[in-house]
């Protein structure tokens, strides 16, 4: 069909639509408006219900910041000079939040921050000019269906992964040391305990994971059972002092700045981590 024929045809179809609605349509009020009103009532009830649950499942007198079923009522007051905080956006931005973890190589950072979202927004805006067919039946719109499914799945996956992404904050990790000692069985090993406390605050868990804690973003190995490999204290100390010497090509930075004594403690901790009992 030539373009002008298409234009004439779609105008005719729209005329027909208006005629059909005029002849056989139902008045908006009360038929359609009833459904709208019911749905709006559901929306208002949901919002109010969430507000009530948020408040009444938060324990305590709200002078402290304990979380309830739906999270905290508010965090600690803003401290621009803090060194102990990992920010998170609101849940509807988790898909963008997780994009930042996908595009983590420095030259690609700008793609994840503004490149991809801008492209998606432009695609959305231009949709009526990309899809020029007047076909509305789903069975005859395979591209639309595939695109919709892909978008829903990818946004869902990205949001989920953004929600479950883990970061490692030194102060929170320190509190986990007794539980680590218990799970790994080195409660009586003073060197290993000291090493565990160092492990928590020296930034190891920014890249590594250990017994469920730590960041997975940079793909460093899990160290929960590092001791089971029996590499020995000397190996561990040498590796920590110069990872690239022991493992050529390793992106792990050197921890020699901690000093020999602390490296020994870390090594003792790693060797005592035989894996949870």
């Amino acid at each position: 069909m030539a373009a002008s024929e298409r234009i004439v045809e779609r105008r005719r179809v729209f005329q027909q639509y208006k005629e059909d609605v005029r002849e056989r349509g139902k008045p908006f009020y009360p038929f359609a408006m009833l459904h709208d009103t019911i749905m709006s009532l559901v929306v208002v009830l949901v919002i109010t219900g969430l507000a009530i649950v948020w408040k009444y499942t938060t324990p305590g007198d709200h002078q402290t910041v304990e979380p309830g079923w739906l999270g905290r009522l508010y965090d600690e007051p803003a401290d621009p000079g803090t060194i102990n905080f990992v920010p998170r956006p609101d849940w509807y931005f988790y898909f963008l939040f997780y994009l930042l973890r996908i595009f983590k190589w420095p030259p690609t950072v700008v793609i994840g921050t503004v490149g991809l979202p801008t492209v998606l927004l432009i695609l959305l805006l231009a949709l009526p000019f990309i899809d020029l067919r007047s076909e509305r039946r789903l069975s005859r719109r395979p591209v639309a269906i595939v695109a919709a499914i892909l978008v829903v799945i990818s946004m869902g996956v990205l949001t989920y992964k953004g929600a479950t992404a883990k970061e490692a904050l030194g102060t929170e990790l320190l509190a986990l040391v007794p539980s680590w000692a218990q799970q790994q069985g080195f409660e009586n090993n003073e060197q290993a305990l000291a090493g565990a406390r160092l492990f928590a605050v020296a930034g190891c868990l920014n890249c590594h994971t250990y017994l469920g804690a730590g960041g997975t973003n940079l793909g460093a190995p899990d160290l929960s059972a590092e001791g089971a490999k029996n590499k020995g204290i000397k190996f561990q100390v040498d590796h920590l002092a110069c990872p690239a010497c022991v493992n050529p090509g390793s992106p792990m930075p050197s921890f020699s700045g901690l000093g020999k004594e602390r490296l020994q403690q870390l090594a003792a901790f790693l060797e005592a981590s035989k894996g949870p009992k």
Partner: protein, 309 residues
């Protein structure tokens, strides 16, 4: 325009009432503001009032304005001091500039002027201040003796006391010994160069030796292996160079000054990388840029101009 005999006697158009009104207003304002203005207003009102009354009492009815013949500029039978003829345009039917076009143009033009007067200053007020008068004063961090050589100290200070807590900031300060007889310091910002999350020192802090000078808090570290960002895993070495993760450049640094044995922290600048360590380091310095912006390499062409900082 044909004269009507039962047409009421209506004075012609005249500017005297306007002048009188202006005079009255100025008089009333002057009563509040200043006697001189009141006097001026009174004089204006009197003058125009006199002219107006004189107009009214001249008595020539203007119910029939003779048609001004197209070819003669002034109607011969109409006295010059009578309103309409004195103010009518010279020749009504032959206009060089059609009236409707003139009205259109002046409406749009005046509208544009009004729009400009209202929006330009307002927009300037919205957009201007973030870019004007930026820059910070130096802040005193503490005496030189509070900064042990070779160890980083976590210094939290208030960058602008007039703004209060909102301008709190943290920097990592390390004394490097003497360089050419002057104390050398490395002062590293704690904003990650990826997206600005607070960066942590990779090592234990010495909370026992925490010091407080007014609103400045100094916590020495025991020994650290560098800095790490918990948000996305960016890692930096002890000079602030990026060693792994998404950060696009090294950590920013601050300029500093030593006055009367005290360390003062100054304005920040960006760093692409640092060669060497401590006081002998070579710092590749760039204008301050926000996190996530490359300062060198190919991608720095994406950010050619920095706003005034």
């Amino acid at each position: 325009m044909q004269p009507h005999d039962d047409h009421p006697h209506v004075p012609g158009p005249s500017l005297w009432p306007v002048g009188f009104a202006v005079g009255v207003v100025v008089l009333m304002i002057g009563l509040i503001v200043s006697w001189w203005i009141a006097g001026l207003g009174a004089i204006v009102a009197l003058v125009f009032g006199f002219l107006w009354v004189r107009d009214l009492t001249v008595g020539t009815p203007l119910t029939h304005t003779p048609e001004v013949p197209p070819e003669s500029p002034t109607g011969a039978a109409v006295p010059a001091n009578v309103g309409a003829a004195a103010m009518a345009p010279a020749s009504l039917s032959e206009e060089r500039y059609p009236r409707s076009k003139f009205l259109e143009a002046s409406t749009l033009g005046l509208g544009a002027v009004i729009g400009g007067i209202v929006t330009v200053p307002a927009l300037g007020f919205m957009v201007g201040p973030p870019f004007l008068k930026q820059g910070q004063k130096e802040r005193r961090l503490g005496p030189l003796s509070d900064f042990p050589e070779g160890r980083y100290v976590v210094a939290t200070y208030t960058a602008d006391p007039t703004q209060g807590v909102v301008s709190r900031r943290t920097a990592y300060v390390r004394a490097n010994g003497l360089l050419d007889g002057q104390p050398s310091f490395s002062i590293i910002s704690n904003h990650c160069a990826h997206l600005g999350c607070p960066v942590q020192p990779n090592g234990p802090l010495d909370q026992q030796n925490k010091k407080q000078h007014g609103e400045v808090t100094l916590i020495p570290t025991i020994s650290i292996a560098g800095f790490g960002c918990p948000c996305h895993g960016g890692q930096y070495d002890t000079e602030g160079n990026r060693t792994s993760g998404p950060p696009v450049r090294a950590l920013d640094r601050y300029s500093f000054a030593i006055r009367d044995g005290d360390l003062y922290i100054g304005t920040p600048f960006s760093v692409s990388h640092v060669e060497g360590t401590g006081k002998d380091a070579t710092i590749h310095k760039w204008t301050f840029a926000y996190p996530g912006e490359h300062v060198d390499g190919l991608e720095s062409w994406l950010y050619p101009i920095q706003p005034p900082h």
